[in-house]
């Protein structure tokens, strides 16, 4: 079957570790739609992780893997895969067993320990276009068809 999936691909040469992607992600997933309130009042956390080591930096978020180990490991049924291969995590159904955190090879399924659920990149499904890609000032994140 043809998979018609678009994903966010990071380009590490272009990343300047500004973390705009993290801020934009947190904001668009907040109630307030305000970057400061999202972090401070709502206690939200970013879904992409900007990693830095010496001169190398890169933004990493859920890869919507062709074989998602998180899906194998999910005990509650919160993680599902749609017909295009997009991997969804239903935070309300999630019981916080942390199996996805334990098996995700990219470290992209994050634990929200205080709230007893995991969270990860949802490709900004509700918005239609990933906020991180929009926010990136240096074209270090692109939204492209699955490779």
């Amino acid at each position: 079957m043809e998979r018609k999936l678009m994903k966010v691909y990071p380009i590490e040469e272009n990343c300047i570790s500004c973390r705009y992607c993290e801020v934009a992600c947190t904001m668009v997933h907040s109630e307030s739609q305000d970057p400061v309130k999202a972090y401070k009042l709502e206690g939200l956390k970013p879904r992409p992780t900007v990693e830095v080591k010496g001169a190398v930096s890169i933004s990493v978020m859920c890869r919507h893997c062709k074989h998602p180990f998180c899906f194998d490991a999910c005990i509650s049924g919160a993680i599902t895969v749609d017909e295009n291969g997009k991997v969804n995590l239903d935070e309300d159904r999630c019981v916080g067993c942390w199996n996805c955190v334990l098996v995700c090879p990219f470290g992209a399924a994050h634990p929200f320990v205080e709230r007893k659920h995991s969270f990860k990149c949802d490709l900004c499904e509700e918005r239609g276009f990933p906020a991180c890609v929009e926010a990136c000032p240096n074209r270090a994140l692109i939204y492209d068809f699955e490779r």
Binding site: E51, K66, V101, G107
Partner: protein, 429 residues
């Protein structure tokens, strides 16, 4: 073509998922003596009156959409590989072209005098969890003795404290999770559970369960007597191989399969807690009764049953102590068996509330423990799986900001740029 699956849990759902990747047409039949497809790791939740609907792992819609017929409430009692039928306890014969056996594991109950009394329970099925809950209510149970401090025993103990019942865990070894966690990890887990009010008796075991019809106390090997209004036996599980044996399938410590999850009998596959799994950290075949592995094995079996040849990557011990306030995760080898292993520790538990440990052999990560701070540890699990050389990043493995930037650039290119994330792409490098 007709696929039949005995079992209706993690491995079965994995198998359905695998079959349907390849074959959207042919019929799938699932057989289980239980009445629904619930999440087994979540059964302890019934103790705290968690709504039972929430335990559902896959609903009716899932089976309908995947064209699966469920035969529920019936036990498969034998398989005849000559005529290719599964015989049910009702006498019904279910013909198959390809069969998956995913009969799970059974609780191990050692011969303890008095274990046939009322009030003695195991805890590996929704039915047994519910029966235990009923017994607690009907008998006003106040004191429970849990035999065994494995994952299930500790989980039961924790949930009993949540509903205000006094619990004593009796353990043969000198610490909790003796086989699954390292010494420091055990110490931390024990402390968290003691803070919750759980009592422990180590280096001891229950010799006799006392009472007339119903249990009232237990006598320990040391001679000590503990009041017990109920007893939970949680010593461990063993592969349920009864059905496989009726088909003449080779069984060792569990059902023996090849890398395609096929048994030695034609057209019969096996997956999940009932099999002997290849542990990639030590190369040995052994039961590894874990949910993610059961699903993955079922998935691989399903692909192969439907004609797509795929080799299983092999498994590794993977545990998450999901009920504690502070998460406790581990994978692979957690305590080095000899001094050919390197151990790197970052223990800030007292001051900062976290503990990290990495175990390395021949410059490959073979295991880790993460307590308190667990974000991104899946990267470590994958280092174990892919046997990636960690000689330049050993100290980083226990650092909280460890990430993909620590991995070889070629790995990042392959995974992040080329998107090599299909099943076969996760083999050892």
């Amino acid at each position: 073509m007709r696929y039949v699956i005995v079992g209706n849990s993690a491995a079965a759902v994995g198998c359905i998922t695998g079959i349907r990747k390849v074959d959207k047409e042919n019929e799938i039949v699932v057989i289980s003596y239980e009445d629904k497809c619930y999440s087994k790791p979540m059964i302890a939740d019934v103790l705290v009156d968690f709504p039972e609907e929430k335990l559902l792992y896959r609903d009716k819609k899932f089976f309908e959409e995947n064209g699966v017929t469920q035969i529920l409430g019936h036990r498969a009692i034998s398989v005849n590989p000559e005529s290719k039928v599964v015989v049910l306890d009702s006498g019904e014969l279910v013909p198959y072209d390809k069969l998956l056996i995913s009969t799970g594991a059974l609780p191990f109950v050692p011969p303890i005098e008095g274990s046939d009394k009322k009030g003695v329970f195991t805890f590996t099925e929704l039915g047994s969890a519910k029966a235990f809950k009923e017994y607690i209510k009907e008998n006003g149970v106040e004191e429970v003795v849990v035999i065994g401090s494995g994952f299930i025993g500790l989980e039961v103990a924790y949930f009993l404290r949540e509903i205000g019942i006094n619990v004593t865990v009796v353990e043969l070894l000198d610490r909790v999770l003796g086989k699954a966690l390292d010494r420091r990890g055990s110490e931390i887990v024990e402390k968290m559970l003691r803070d919750k009010g759980v009592n422990f008796v180590f280096n001891n075991t229950v010799e006799r369960i006392e009472g007339d019809e119903k249990v009232t106390s237990v006598t320990l090997k040391s001679g000590e007597v503990l009041r017990a209004d109920a007893v939970v036996v949680a010593i461990g599980v063993r592969p349920n191989t009864d059905l496989a044996k009726t088909a003449g399938i080779e069984v060792n410590r569990g059902i023996v399969t090849d890398n395609h999850m096929a048994t030695n009998v034609k057209d019969i596959y096996a997956a999940g807690d009932c099999i002997e799994c290849l542990d990639i950290t030590d190369g040995q075949r052994k039961p590894l009764p874990l949910f993610p592995l059961a699903f993955e094995q079922g998935f691989v079996a399903g692909l192969n049953m439907a004609g797509k040849e795929v080799e299983y990557l092999g498994g590794l011990p993977l545990n998450s102590l999901k009920f504690l306030e502070k998460p406790v995760l581990n994978a692979g080898i957690v305590e080095p068996p000899d001094n050919s292993y390197e151990v790197i520790v970052n223990d800030r538990f007292e001051k900062k509330g976290y503990y990290r440990k990495a175990i390395i052999k021949d410059n490959r990560l073979v295991g880790f423990v993460a307590i308190g701070e667990i974000d991104r540890v899946g990267i470590l699990t994958n280092l174990i799986r892919q046997k990636i050389d960690v000689s330049n990043i050993k100290e980083r493995l226990v650092s909280l900001d460890f990430g993909l930037v620590d991995l070889p650039e070629s790995w990042r290119k392959e995974k992040l740029v080329e998107d090599k994330t299909a099943y076969k792409d996760w083999r050892a490098v």
